[in-house]
Amino acid sequence: MAVELEESMLVRVQQENFSIDEELERVRSRSRRIGGIAMFLGTARDHSKGREVSSMSFDHYEGMAQKKLKEIRERALRDFDIIEALVLHRYGPIEIGENIVLIIVGAEHRAAAFKACQWCIDELKQITPIWKMETTPEGEVWVEEHP
């Protein structure tokens, strides 16, 4: 039960902002074997493809988004030589400069941590049902990833 609760905190889609120190603690507290932690934090940029962006908002498919992030964590733990992984994405309105997405991967050695971290964010963008709307001088625009 406690373990399940702990694991559910390692994969979240939430509206609220988050503290990196707090999220980091969830990962590092899992094992004293961890020697290298790679992290990726995505933040809201003030422009996108030459357009100014004044704010943005994320829509997500409740249930499926969580399911896909869970799959990403589990596949990362299976396919890379790592100890723990945390995957977190916000939804709703987000101001410029704010946090959007966080990946934290703890491993014994740094090479595996970096590889898994980069894989997680790449995969997240491929398979997670989350959509971004940017507010620009030309109005609200839904964006899509590069192929």
């Binding site: 995505g42 933040t43 809201a44 940029r45 996108s48 493809k49 357009r51 994320f58 829509d59 997500h60 498919y61 249930g63 499926m64 399911k67 994405h89 959007i100 997405v101 964010i121 997240l124 963008k125 491929q126 398979i127 997670t128 049902p129 989350i130 959509w131 971004k132 709307m133 940017e134 625009v141 839904w142 964006v143 899509e144 990833e145 590069h146």
Partner: protein, 93 residues
Amino acid sequence: MKIKLFGVLKTMIPGGRDLEMELSEERRVKDLVYSIQVAYPQVGELLEQKKVLVSVNQEIAHWDTVLEESDEVALLPPFAGGSDEAHGWMGGR
């Protein structure tokens, strides 16, 4: 049958969050797609081009997937999680 809409699709279909479609005799995803093409040609085009995908019970479906009344069905425009390297999409490219 209720069909969930996300992202840009909410603005392309009058009414907003969900789409109500009659499930035909033929109960496959491609039949649903055909019904949507008739009612909303612009969305139908995107489905045809695989720019919008159909999910059934939170997994991407094939066009031959058979639908049940109780299935959770959704239309998914291109994903854009994260922060960087996205580009604008007006729904019509």
